[in-house]
């Protein structure tokens, strides 16, 4: 009996791990971090396939960071995608929406570039809000220390 319970538990754990890996493989196609002496560069890329699940990129900006620069771009071939940028105080610092009807031939593209000198320290959030969106999102963040 104990052996059966043990095997069941092992199987469920393995199944859960496989599911996680699959989600990461489809949603987040690229993720890179690089460090120089004073700049941390982060890249996050996503691919959307009729997605409607909100994703959130969070970035910790340290105290006394002299500059924070972000670039977010997206291209949508169907559906709608909204990008919103929030500072640690919850104030929206930028947003855009790109959308396209399903029968349209051409894609819709949006790009936002922002930089902040002496940015508020704390957690910055970039929300990706897709509505049945198919397309891709690419982003680059440069945190100066």
């Amino acid at each position: 009996m104990r052996l059966i319970v043990f095997l069941l538990a092992v199987s469920l754990t393995a199944l859960g791990q496989r599911t996680d890996v699959k989600e990461k493989a489809t949603d987040q196609v690229g993720m890179r971090e690089s460090f120089s002496s004073a700049i941390t560069t982060l890249e996050r890329n996503f691919r959307l396939d009729k997605d409607s699940k909100t994703e959130e990129i969070t970035l910790e900006i340290p105290q006394d960071s002299p500059k924070f620069e972000l670039k977010v771009g997206s291209s949508v071939s169907s559906g709608k995608l909204t990008i919103e940028i929030y500072d640690p105080k919850g104030v929206k610092q930028g947003n855009y929406t790109v959308g396209l009807q399903a029968n349209s031939e051409k894609e819709t593209t949006g790009r936002i570039t922002k930089y902040f000198k002496q940015p508020h320290s704390g957690v910055w959030k970039i929300k990706l809000i897709p509505e049945q969106a198919t397309g891709s999102v690419w982003s680059e963040f440069m945190i100066y220390e």
Partner: protein, 328 residues
């Protein structure tokens, strides 16, 4: 003067007046931009249905496009636009980009907002190559000169804030907020005024300036358009709290009434389960009779009455005489 001379004179007069009238009512948007060859030679005109859609890009929003010539000149005829003033966006795209591309911030920012109606005659001149719409100057359009002043003022203050220390930034942001309130309050052009409100991030400072927004909504109450309606929808409704409270009370009362009603109905149905003698005693109990009075009236012993009363309590699922008297 012969009659045919008079006829010719009148015809010419009418034609001149007609052509002058036609010239005055036929609107256009023209301009000159400084563009290098990385940009496509097409410029797009989009209708922006509400201020909340300023940063929405969709192919369906593009209502016209025209060619920018090699010297940077372009012109749209806009006699198909609505009679009332609306918000519009001009944008250009890089050669490799889709026509429906919106670039916000940075040297490639590719768009410009303005207000117009079908008879507007707007001419604008770009002053820089990167970003192409930065510091654009509008000619002969009071509305758009005021509109652009808000854009420029916001841009300058925002840039200064970005470059400043946290404490200085706070001062600049406070000053910007005051300036935008003043612009919103003093502008006689509704869309210009509302633009200042939107630039002031009204949703985050509403509760601090509730009186201002209340008087602002009253001031422009005759405006009935998508821009104002969309704005009003986002204002927290002061009455909604009371309304929600009233609805909640009504719901609670309804539930209580329903439960009490159902309870009473249950009791009423249970009365049918009483025997003939028990029904007589039940009626007397409802009138407030004591056990002795019931015994005397029905000519039965006191212990019998007590037994019947106990049985009535049990069948009606109550514990006292008060419970009997509460049954309607």
């Amino acid at each position: 003067m012969p009659v045919y001379f008079r006829l010719v004179f009148v015809t010419i007069f009418v034609s001149i007046c007609g052509s002058l009238y036609g010239q005055n009512t036929k609107g256009s948007i023209s301009g000159k931009l400084w563009l290098d060859n990385s940009w496509s030679s097409t410029i797009y005109l989009s209708h922006i249905p509400t201020f909340d859609d300023m940063y929405v890009m969709s192919g369906e929003m593009i209502i016209a496009k025209t060619i920018i010539d090699s010297l940077g000149y372009f012109k749209f005829d806009i006699d198909f636009l609505p009679i009332d003033e609306n918000l519009f966006r001009l944008h250009i795209v890089k050669k490799d980009d889709s026509p429906a591309t919106l670039i916000i911030g940075g040297k490639d920012e590719n768009h410009l907002f303005f207000i117009a109606n079908r008879s507007s005659k707007i001419h604008l001149t770009g002053k820089s190559a990167y970003p192409p719409f930065k510091n654009v100057i509008f000619e002969n359009s009071i509305e758009n000169i005021a509109f652009q002043q808000i854009t420029n003022h916001f841009f300058i203050a925002d840039s200064m804030a970005s470059e400043s220390s946290a404490s200085k930034r706070s001062l600049i942001e406070n000053q910007l907020e005051e300036d935008l309130f003043l612009m919103a309050d003093t502008s006689k052009i509704f869309l210009v005024s509302l633009y200042a409100i939107y630039k002031n991030r009204f949703s985050s400072n509403y509760f601090l300036n509730k009186d201002f927004y209340t008087s602002y909504v009253n001031k422009w109450s005759k405006q009935d358009n998508a821009y104002f309606n969309s704005f009003k929808k986002q204002l927290p409704n002061r009455d909604s709290g009371y309304l929600t409270g009233i609805i909640a009370i009504v719901c609670v009362m309804t539930v209580i009434g329903f439960v009490v009603g159902k309870y009473s109905l249950l009791k009423t149905n249970n009365i049918q389960k009483l025997s003939v003698q028990e029904k007589k005693i039940y009626k007397m109990l409802q009138l407030g009779a004591s056990n002795q009075e019931i015994a005397n009236e029905l000519n039965i012993g006191l212990s019998t009455v007590k037994s019947h009363v106990s049985s009535i309590y049990s069948k009606l699922k109550i514990k006292s005489r008060k419970g009997i008297m509460d049954i309607k």
